[in-house]
Symmetry: C2
Subunit: 163 residues, 2 copies
């Protein structure tokens, strides 16, 4: 059975269009900025940031993939590249012989130190310097709602019979 689709209202359409354009432009902007100043795409930079904030500057591959919201496969390739750059190193996990730890090297940390100020400035210029504090709050709340609904282990709202 097919129900008549509930199309988007005029306001929803405008919001959706603006969302697509803003997110596309921003991701593109950040990719270029980081490619130019740090020699890597935005996602890779985000991986280094995660590692830098983790205890011992290391994280299991799966954990890193989960916090960065990317697949394990993609992470494997990414870490291979970052390893060639000397910014990350793999270490065997002592407690689980299948496991790998991705470890941020000193060189990797140095790259972050050098490029973080420029990156924050770019993010500010694109987002926070243009929004009121109230809008920053609103955006945070909205994005948290969306992210929660999209987690691989969803709330179950899409599979209510499994709750």
């Amino acid at each position: 059975m097919t129900t008549a689709p509930r199309w988007l209202s005029g306001e929803e359409q405008r919001t959706w269009r603006a969302y697509l354009q803003a997110t596309t432009l921003l991701e593109d902007h950040l990719d270029r900025q980081l490619q130019r100043d740090a020699g890597m795409p935005h996602v890779y930079y985000g991986l280094l940031v995660q590692l830098s904030q983790a205890p011992e500057r290391r994280l299991r591959m799966t954990e890193l993939a989960e916090t960065a919201k990317i697949t394990r496969s993609r992470l494997s390739h990414a870490v291979a590249r970052l390893e060639r750059n000397g910014w990350v190193r793999r270490e065997e996990c002592p407690s689980d012989r299948r496991g790998q730890n991705a470890v941020l090297t000193d060189e990797g940390y140095a790259v972050l130190e050098q490029t973080a100020p420029g990156h924050v400035a770019t993010v500010r210029q694109a987002m926070f310097d243009r929004l009121t504090p109230e809008q920053v709050r609103q955006l945070g709340e909205i994005m948290r709602v969306m992210a929660e609904g999209l987690q691989p282990t969803g709330t179950g709202a899409d599979l209510p019979w499994l709750r």
Copy 2:
């Protein structure tokens, strides 16, 4: 001269993190949905949508690239692929011999007709069904502000001496 970087406040950090996670998860989600149901990634689907809404279902390559916020190069490759699928056709532009029109074929239109309902449902489920009408308004306004600031032909805020 280097000024001390203005790091993000706690609230800004949380908002930024939520933004990155939500946008990453959503783009991923839409890519999978459309790859599964329409056999193409989200960006390609967006190109067909733009064409379907254009007069005569056709658009100059450069115009299409601009409304979709992607580079001409990327569009060239994308249209080549969509052409192989039979969903888009290229036509010479009568008024400018350099120009090319991308034209949505009947097959391309049919694909949209078949897959649009499922796609709207996915977008609704991920975004609009989770937000209040007030939040939809807020998000629209926020995204318009960001998009405006990121247009290639910016407001000039980054080049104030050129205004």
